[in-house]
């Protein structure tokens, strides 16, 4: 079991659930990212996913598409993202993961990427368009550089494949809540809960966390009932976008608002 998955399991053993927060690197502007990482950390997130923007993010809904476009316009690069990661991990014990798409990683050099992620203090990587396979250069490089590579399951995943994904994944298994893209309305919770219950029972190796379409502390509480935690992305991106678009709010107040937003979500993971 990896150090990171061990940490998530500790949280579950306390009767709590883990909260992961996603934010796009270089969004809404380059100097905001280090501040936002600190604010999310201060709000009590158990880990943070830093998004590596891609021009063609095909699993993303509008909020993360827009944040990626904006970050790329701001000139964010893989090197800048790794530098943000390094700065954060040198100041905080909170685990940091990178999330993005296969192509920018391939362009950077797959092995070099995992090496540099490791030396930047990154615990894990999530690449939703890279499927688990023994001979995948992504999985080989992650293992070689001792970085967790998190795999995803979805409501369409058959049980046998869930078991295989659990075997290939490290850190945790990311359960996509609904068939859809990020930010999708989850709608009726009951089919999601039964899928998550079944998925949790299938996991032998990894903690299971749920994401996509989780917006409020109530969502967090409800959907993480049968899992080890929840991940929130689009809702935070929308919150940040609104704060930064309102020029009457000071940077300090914006960051306080982000911290409060995270703290409220975290409350949804605590035992009642």
């Amino acid at each position: 079991m990896s150090h990171f998955s061990d940490l998530l399991s500790q949280v579950s053993k306390r009767g709590e659930r883990s909260l992961g927060m996603f934010v796009t690197s270089g969004f809404p502007d380059m100097k905001a990212t280090p501040d936002l990482l600190r604010a999310i950390d201060a709000g009590g997130a158990d880990f943070i996913e830093l998004g590596m923007p891609f021009s063609d993010p095909l699993a993303e809904g509008l909020p993360i598409q827009r944040s990626s476009e904006r970050a790329l316009k701001n000139g964010v690069t893989m090197q800048a993202t790794l530098a943000f990661a390094k700065e954060f991990t040198s100041q905080s014990e909170t685990p940091l993961l990178l999330m993005g798409y296969g192509n920018p990683v391939m362009r950077y050099g797959i092995s070099n990427f995992f090496r540099d992620a490791r030396s930047s203090g990154v615990q894990g990587v999530i690449l939703p368009d890279v499927l688990p396979a023994e001979d995948s250069p992504f999985f080989k490089a992650a293992k070689g550089h001792d970085v967790d590579l998190v795999c995803l399951i979805s409501p369409t995943t058959p049980e046998a494949r869930m078991a295989l994904i659990d075997e290939m994944s490290s850190g945790f298994v990311y359960a996509v809540s609904v068939t859809g893209i990020t930010g999708t309305d989850t709608g009726d919770a009951s089919p999601i809960l039964s899928y998550l219950r079944q998925a949790k029972a299938t996991m032998r190796k990894n903690p299971l966390l749920v994401g996509f379409g989780i917006r409020t502390a109530a969502d967090v509480r409800q959907l993480s009932e049968h899992t080890d935690g929840a991940i929130v992305g689009s809702a935070l991106i929308n919150h940040i976008e609104a704060l930064w678009n309102d020029i009457s709010i000071s940077t300090e107040d914006r960051l306080k608002s982000v911290e409060t937003f995270v703290r409220e979500l975290k409350a949804g993971t605590l035992a009642l």
């Binding site: 893989m78 362009r107 068939t179």
Partner: protein
């Protein structure tokens, strides 16, 4: 002719061409790079396709529709005045422009909608660039009474307004892709996002030999009828099944694969793909194989136009159908293995191609096809008189008349 099976005939002593492998790889290219949500759907599609390939009833249905609805076999026209113009090899045109809806795209749309129905899917989605694949998909959906949603870049909707009207008339809903460059690449992203969301009841009819496994192999299988017909037609016209040179334009690469594939094992047949170099290779272009680098886009590993950060760059071509920063993974392999040569033609050269074919043969080609004509201008001069060239006349130019009028 008359079979969908892509297994090569008359294989010479070398190992027959049997790519892709079971995981969809052509050498290092191809594969499946998609969200996990789509994995079961792609597996189901692969199984359904393989079953259909070996089902005589499916084959019979597909070929009867190609004959009675599409109008196949399409003519193989001897281009007498074009041949005289270059003064070299005898030039034949494979007349895919005569297909119902005006381009080769309908071959694939027919094949995939039959598969969709076989799989019990009720909702059809597609992406389109120039609008030809969108029109072909809207057409087969009308023919079979199925719901049809076509994603099209907002900028392309402007450039190809006539095709938007055609799709609407056929009962399809055209949804503008407003993200990114608002062209084919973004329409494809939107179609994939729709599929991820509605995967249980929706069939995604991809319009070229791109996308995750099994699409490149499946779309190829539905277009090899082009090359198979050429073989039979040349045999009866010239007494030999193989030409010396094949020429086709390459955007995603479906008409080129359809023409080339039945000849790939015959190493004496020279295959030439013509990409769009837009303003020229120094300027804005769509010459993915000529100037691109390997990467992952829209579910497959192939050549791409991308920057040093792995961000996809915008392609440019006067032809909306070639204006795509990727290319089918099989073409990436055929380039790497050296089996197919890839050259390029500029917007200006393509416009010369339009004029040349219009005035020598009375055939107004699509702007995509015009790139193949421009390639022919590079290849044909100096070829021996007893050699044969077949050029895939992949589509007709009606849809492009406004662009052509503005450019001339």
């Amino acid at each position: 002719m008359g079979t969908l099976d892509t297994s090569p005939s008359n294989a010479p002593s070398v190992a027959p061409y049997d790519l892709p492998d079971s995981r969809g790889y052509f050498g290092e290219f191809g594969g499946s790079f998609v969200p996990e949500i789509l994995v079961p759907a792609l597996g189901e599609l692969t199984n359904a396709f393989d079953e259909a390939l070996h089902d005589p009833a499916f084959q019979a249905r597909y070929h009867s529709l190609l004959r009675d609805y599409v109008g196949r076999p399409t003519a193989l026209t001897f281009a007498e005045r074009l041949t005289a113009h270059f003064g070299g090899a005898r030039i034949y045109l494979k007349r895919e422009d005569l297909c119902h809806t005006g381009a080769h795209k309908i071959n694939n749309a027919i094949g995939q909608i039959l598969l969709a129905r076989r799989m019990g899917k009720t909702r059809i989605i597609a992406e389109t660039g120039a609008g030809q694949h969108g029109v072909a998909t809207a057409t087969v959906c009308a023919r079979f009474g199925m719901e049809c949603i076509v994603y099209m870049g907002a900028e392309d909707m402007e450039r190809q307004r006539l095709n938007v009207h055609r799709m609407n008339l056929l009962g399809a809903e055209v949804r503008p892709a407003t993200s990114g460059s608002q062209t084919l690449k973004d329409a494809t992203n939107e179609a994939i996002r729709d599929w991820v969301t509605n995967v249980r009841d929706t069939f995604y009819i991809i319009g070229s030999v791109v996308g995750p496994h099994p699409y490149p192999r499946m779309v190829r299988a539905f277009h090899t009828v082009i090359g198979e017909e050429v073989k039979a037609q040349l045999e009866s016209r010239e007494g030999r099944p193989n030409p010396d040179i094949l020429i086709a334009c390459v955007g995603g690469g479906s008409n080129a694969i359809g023409l080339f594939h039945p000849f790939l094992d015959d190493k004496n047949v020279r295959c030439v793909g013509v990409e769009a170099s837009g303003e020229g290779l120094e300027g804005r272009h769509a010459a993915t194989l000529t100037l691109g680098t390997p990467g992952i886009l829209h579910g497959a590993l192939s050549y791409l136009l991308q920057d040093d950060q792995g961000q996809i760059e915008l392609a440019h071509s006067i032809s909306a159908g070639l204006d795509y920063p990727g290319v089918g993974p099989e073409h990436a392999w055929l380039k790497q293995s050296g089996r197919v040569e890839y050259i390029s033609a500029t917007d200006t050269e393509a416009m010369e191609g339009v004029k040349l074919l219009s005035r020598t043969e009375g055939i107004i080609p699509a702007l995509e096809t015009a790139h193949a004509i421009a390639g022919l201008s590079q290849i044909a001069p100096g070829t021996p008189h007893d050699e044969l060239i077949v050029l895939n006349c992949s589509g007709r130019g009606d849809k492009d008349m406004q662009t052509i009028a503005e450019a001339l």
